[in-house]
Subunit: 235 residues, 6 copies
Amino acid sequence: MRILILTPILVRGDTGRPPEMPLAPDVELSYRALDRGSASIESYYDEYVGAMDMVEKALEAGKEGFDAIVIDCFMNPMMEGLRELLDIPVVGAGEAALHVASMLGDNFSIIDPDPPHRTYSHRVAAAAGLLHKLRSVRYLNLGVAGVLGDFETVLGRMVEEAVKAVEEDGAHVVVFGCTGMRPFAEKLAKKMEDYGVPVVEPITAAVNVAEALVRLRLRHSKVSYPKPTEKKRVF
Amino acid sequence: MRILILTPILVRGDTGRPPEMPLAPDVELSYRALDRGSASIESYYDEYVGAMDMVEKALEAGKEGFDAIVIDCFMNPMMEGLRELLDIPVVGAGEAALHVASMLGDNFSIIDPDPPHRTYSHRVAAAAGLLHKLRSVRYLNLGVAGVLGDFETVLGRMVEEAVKAVEEDGAHVVVFGCTGMRPFAEKLAKKMEDYGVPVVEPITAAVNVAEALVRLRLRHSKVSYPKPTEKKRVF
Amino acid sequence: MRILILTPILVRGDTGRPPEMPLAPDVELSYRALDRGSASIESYYDEYVGAMDMVEKALEAGKEGFDAIVIDCFMNPMMEGLRELLDIPVVGAGEAALHVASMLGDNFSIIDPDPPHRTYSHRVAAAAGLLHKLRSVRYLNLGVAGVLGDFETVLGRMVEEAVKAVEEDGAHVVVFGCTGMRPFAEKLAKKMEDYGVPVVEPITAAVNVAEALVRLRLRHSKVSYPKPTEKKRVF
Amino acid sequence: MRILILTPILVRGDTGRPPEMPLAPDVELSYRALDRGSASIESYYDEYVGAMDMVEKALEAGKEGFDAIVIDCFMNPMMEGLRELLDIPVVGAGEAALHVASMLGDNFSIIDPDPPHRTYSHRVAAAAGLLHKLRSVRYLNLGVAGVLGDFETVLGRMVEEAVKAVEEDGAHVVVFGCTGMRPFAEKLAKKMEDYGVPVVEPITAAVNVAEALVRLRLRHSKVSYPKPTEKKRVF
Amino acid sequence: MRILILTPILVRGDTGRPPEMPLAPDVELSYRALDRGSASIESYYDEYVGAMDMVEKALEAGKEGFDAIVIDCFMNPMMEGLRELLDIPVVGAGEAALHVASMLGDNFSIIDPDPPHRTYSHRVAAAAGLLHKLRSVRYLNLGVAGVLGDFETVLGRMVEEAVKAVEEDGAHVVVFGCTGMRPFAEKLAKKMEDYGVPVVEPITAAVNVAEALVRLRLRHSKVSYPKPTEKKRVF
Amino acid sequence: MRILILTPILVRGDTGRPPEMPLAPDVELSYRALDRGSASIESYYDEYVGAMDMVEKALEAGKEGFDAIVIDCFMNPMMEGLRELLDIPVVGAGEAALHVASMLGDNFSIIDPDPPHRTYSHRVAAAAGLLHKLRSVRYLNLGVAGVLGDFETVLGRMVEEAVKAVEEDGAHVVVFGCTGMRPFAEKLAKKMEDYGVPVVEPITAAVNVAEALVRLRLRHSKVSYPKPTEKKRVF
């Protein structure tokens, strides 16, 4: 089974190699980034810039015989369009993470890299139909780039907000609100064990969901995502 | 006051001139279509194709001193991104229509040009936070292009579905689910008067909402739609 | 176009003249108060006292050829009954304000003149079908009369609560929960610009919504608001 | 314990005597109608006409030492204002009926005397916070007066719609949407036993809820229903 | 009328006698506990242990001619199964308390004996379809056993959390989240009178609801709770 | 990785062997049924009968080193209690199926073996927090035993109801509402391909979700499912 992680941005520190993660023995993981797009996704505009290259790379992946595509961004950019165009499962990291979190406890809180009171995380939860499970959003106030700063400092901030989510907001599960936070997953999960609170990392969650869909021979509903019809399009 | 109707597609029968509609005496209406994009919006993919040209034309309009932009599509494509980038109100035809409909009665039904059971209309209502007011979607099963077919035949289909929405589904208000249906608005409204049921046409509703926002000196919240930060972007 | 602002109370400081506000050149604004009713609306009982005079004055306005009526109270008193009785749009200040706010951002908070924890504001949001957009209610704890106290003191309290709504509760838009707060609108709006947060003042919002409905030739659904039948009534 | 059934209309066939119903041995039931008001409640306007007489009669009842007041109308007219003004429980027939129905099964349908597609019943369910339990509204299309027509014919219509509610809509419980339907309660309940479906009659449900509240020494929250303050009021 | 309070646990301090409470003169109250089960209900596992003995005692009560059964636990354990098996009303203390609370004010908060952030109370509110009325859960952090500790200390904790529910969370009604808290009901109710906030005690609420259902000759819907069919069962 | 399918009933035709399904190469599947319990789960009572044996077998499995337990019933019986008692993931077939279905399309319908209008399926969707995605329940009216009748006849009924779910109700995804329907999964899936509608079979979905949770090293939140405390319990 071949799964492609497609990142909707230009580069990432670990470009070229998929992130390390536990995998079924028969799963082969690939990783590709965009040539045309934004350096990070922090706005709808950032998404538009990379939309057409994302489509192109996804169509290529479909032709190369990949079994599933995972979108490497909590915001699930272009997820709907790729599902329309392709005949293989297209799994968004944010959507998958929130469904996994929903199966682990009564509610979840999201650790969000943004400045306070942004509602990107709320929108992802609402789009997944899981807003009622969102206990709180805890803001790191670092920005996506800031997450790549000093490891211990950033980890400290994450622990601080995750503990507040549990102790002040009553979170039962914690979800990372950005796939760029992956390097901190094991450390934070270890820390939150003291509270009995699992930590869901979106990109590993999404790869495992993609594997499950492939194994179950399931594809997205073509009533929800009908194939675009032929028509005049100027590029 | 100058309002621009920006259509997210390549052409429309009445290109170059804004649709006829009642306007406040001090409102000047302009109309522009895309040079690069799809011939119609019937999928997410259709939206992506025109996204960057839409952005370009909206930014130009901002520089030219337009007071507001109206997006000429029930699906509100690129509405969020334009709100991020601009400092003037950006009004989506679908969003405005559903809020107007919500102020006219207890619920509404949408007349949708699509084949049965598509959920584009549901998604527009959900995105506007008004899904609980959606009584039903009635499908014309014509497609956006089909709506441009024989006038009397198409009008007949609209009347048929609107009456079913009222009599079978219990709709209190009827909303057009496509701005391409505008030529039928007066005729259908006249017909539905017998039922005491108002008909909301999205593009005229949106222009009037835009006028109201300009007059009230209101702009979209920058917490909901923060200005995109400078970063590396490859086009 | 002639719009009547009908206030459901006995008097207001500026009786006789409609509040100053930007208007389309062809809109003529009138203003009338009750002869029989309560000095302010702070309870359901206050509404009942003025109900029949409100009906009488609205019916008169209909006969005089007004194009729309705006109810000058956030609580929308008698809105449903006037819609039943009249054939012109009847716009409630609270309902209109919340729909306008909903089109400006992801959520809103209401600045309420009441003592803490009253739920009048929640009920207005619920009746409009927009409770899910209500982020918080911030209480001035002044009462409707208290709002007419020392301007700078009252303004200070409003700024304080509006800033808390934004910084502590995460509000994206701020709405005045009483039309008596109108004199503070420009000042508060100016202040909240620093936060990128628009301020919606209900009576100006409602007048502009009324203008839009008249221009769009829309009236309220007679399925939602059927004309009362003839029957024995003792007054 | 003395409970007053207060009817918000001018007369009813059985005026002067409370309806027959099973009662605890220590409950004494009284019944009063309005001197000024409408002959029936079929619109908001009908409610306004009787509002002030309703208040007057309720205040009298409070002074006479009644332990609770039951509002004899499914629409719960003036329920909120009476709760503000009085220190004894004020129980609305519609609200009580829907809570009782909610404790008997997973959902309920309402048999409504109105023409099809009116939403009075939906509004009562929504105001009670129980709209999600409303499976359907089944319309008799008789009007409140029509319910007083030929007994067997009306009963036939009720049975017909109740059976459709169960067989076509999947109702688990049936609720009468008008206290004027009380004479049919036993007959319909008997009939619906074949389906295992209980029938809730609002006025008897409300009297029993009122008894329970009195026995439990519970009164309505004064935070929800604060006592109206002294102020200028012109009658 | 004979009502049985059936407690789903092994013993309680006042075993053998039903709790003192105001009752209609014709109501005879009995009380029984389990022989096989858990000492208290603080987990789903605790419920399973007593499930079969609960069923046995309920079936016996049905044969003995009891008119209704009240389940003496806020969690409503085995409520669904007993409703399937019996032909008399089976009232859960938690479900009844939340419906009574819903009729007294706009929202309620639950005082829960558990450690912070448990969601048992949320689940009871959700199962009753009343989660939207739940303003907050306030945790005593004592456990069910801790509630039986020093009276004044425990009462002090309850007052503290109830006042916080009202002043900080905006609760309009307070509900006990455990039937073991009954001895504190009068004292707390007295205290909360200063705030105009009623206090609902679940077991007395449930007995009065049961009385009402019996008097109204209502039973649970057999569509919601069909009689279990004969089949192979190994005990 | 060792996963145990634990069936909450006495026997199943294929007892002793887990159902055939695609599996990751490193997953070893086991299957166990109850010695004490009911022959099928069609009521809450049926669940209680097997509860303690289910607990016992699950605790044994935990001691034997299984990595996860899958509950082989759409109703998810005893899922909460097993999660309290064990330190490995416990996946309910119904919960897992509905989350998988939610990731495949905008809504789903459930094919339910029960007689019409039962609400077991609704309750499973509600408990999973996914009721808003449930488009309809389609009843086979066969009962769990009836599903084991003549293969072609039963398949015919399934196809009939699945097609109605798609064509009449607008379902985008179809879910089996009973794990006993597994033998029909491939055939129905094949048939529904013509409609572009995926079919989710609960037990295979649950096994794959369990695999994902184990691989991700995730366990259920101990705040949602705290370990039962030691206390007196009589068995």
